[in-house]
Amino acid sequence: MIAQRLSAFFQGYLVVMIKGARSEELLNRGIAGGVAFWDIKKKAPGTILCALQADQYPKLRPFFFRTGTKGKILRKKGWPFFWRRVWRKKGWLLGMALFLSLLLTLSSFIWFVEVTGVEQLDPGLIRSQLAVLGLKPGVPRRVILPQRDWLIRELRIRLPEVVWLTVRFKGVIAEVAVAEKKLPPSVDAGPGNLVAAKDGLITEVLLIEGTPVVRVGDMVSRGDLLILGETTRVHLDGSVATKKVKAAGEVRARVWYEITVDEPLTIMEPVVRGGPKIVYRLRLGNRLFTLFSRGTAAPEGFVRQDRAVKPILPGRNSLSLVEIIKDTYQPVEWTTVQVAPETALLKARHKCEMRIGTVLPAGVQPEKIQEVWTRQAEVLHYRLIIETKENIAVPD
């Protein structure tokens, strides 16, 4: 059937309306005469629409008279008719030819140079180097395509910060993908002191370089000098020589952390009163319209229990702009409930334990844990004091 349709398209075909009581007989006579019909549809009693090859239509003419039917050509389709129509509009044809030739010509050039994968390097620098090597907007593809390997090699020599790169040509776009070298952070070798990163009681001083200015048992505050970046030497002749160095060592200290939680002893709890209320809303972009509601849903005294969102006409946009929202509200009455101090204490303890990991530095374990709580009015104040031993010396 496809072969027959293709043949009909290239030879040209007609959509014909046949009117008359004996239209079936006309079709039979046509078939007997070698005519093939397709897409036959009965539009009304005695009216048939059908398609047939254009060169076979004259064979039907005698049968129209013999069967008392009338034929009317409704449409002429297929390549010969299309070409005849186009050929009449020479201006349009010329414009199309010009457009196609322009499209072909313009698509044979590189118009965009895209640089991807850069983090530290300036894409402009890479583009300027590429331009020097011959790859810039406006260069013909046939000139640059054979030079691709050479271009990659040369660019790698010119950009020592790059560990790998490639150039891909996608139509009019030249994409340069770059992977930069990851260099280790520079080490500051200049002189410097070590200071306290936090408050603490010093328990141990391990000196590698410099002069310690604190002793075991000293209490230090954050920012206090711990090891001075300077060494002093007394020569045999009595002269004193000082030298600036980069202080190195560890100063271990007992450090305390505190986590505080206030747990209420009186809370408001909702008690369900009556059946749920349902509200349907329409969201258009950022605007929300209430469509209708089942029951009156006053904002106060109601708690939203559930929300169902149904996007409408999502199309190809992943952000749904039109949605139907169904909110289910539950009418409630707020009542005051007393919490037992033991329950509040357990809750507060649990909250504090959850926060220990966020308060302590990585790798530091608590040495001692002490908890203190007091009750004030309707609130339980809970404090967790954690003691650790850690190195507090950091470069200033």
Partner: protein, 101 residues
């Protein structure tokens, strides 16, 4: 009953086709019907269109009239030996040989 009424020559042909396992639609000049679900019916070796409407298509064949009933019936293609009918086909019915001829 129908077989009994067939002429001798035809019965001989049928026996030959059966004996040599030849396709009977070719040897006996019978119509061949291919029904695809309820969507399409292709009839090969027909003898003309008798009647056509959106709910019924009547065809003449060598063994009698064939009536195809259904909804939204379209004749997709009709040539000298082949008819393709599209639509929702609900019934395919044979009439007696020589009926409505």
């Amino acid at each position: 009953m129908v077989n009994m009424e067939r002429p001798k020559k035809e019965r001989f042909r049928a026996k030959i086709a059966e004996y040599f396992e030849l396709p009977s639609d070719v040897v006996l000049d019978l119509p061949r019907l291919v029904l695809t679900g309820d969507r399409q019916l292709v009839v090969e070796n027909h003898r003309g269109l008798k009647m056509y409407s959106c709910t019924e298509v009547g065809l003449q064949t060598t063994v009698g009239s064939l009536t195809v009933s259904g909804e939204a019936l379209n004749i997709k293609l009709i040539t000298a030996d082949r008819v393709a009918i599209d639509g929702r086909i609900t019934r395919v019915e044979w009439g007696a040989p020589g009926e409505d001829q």
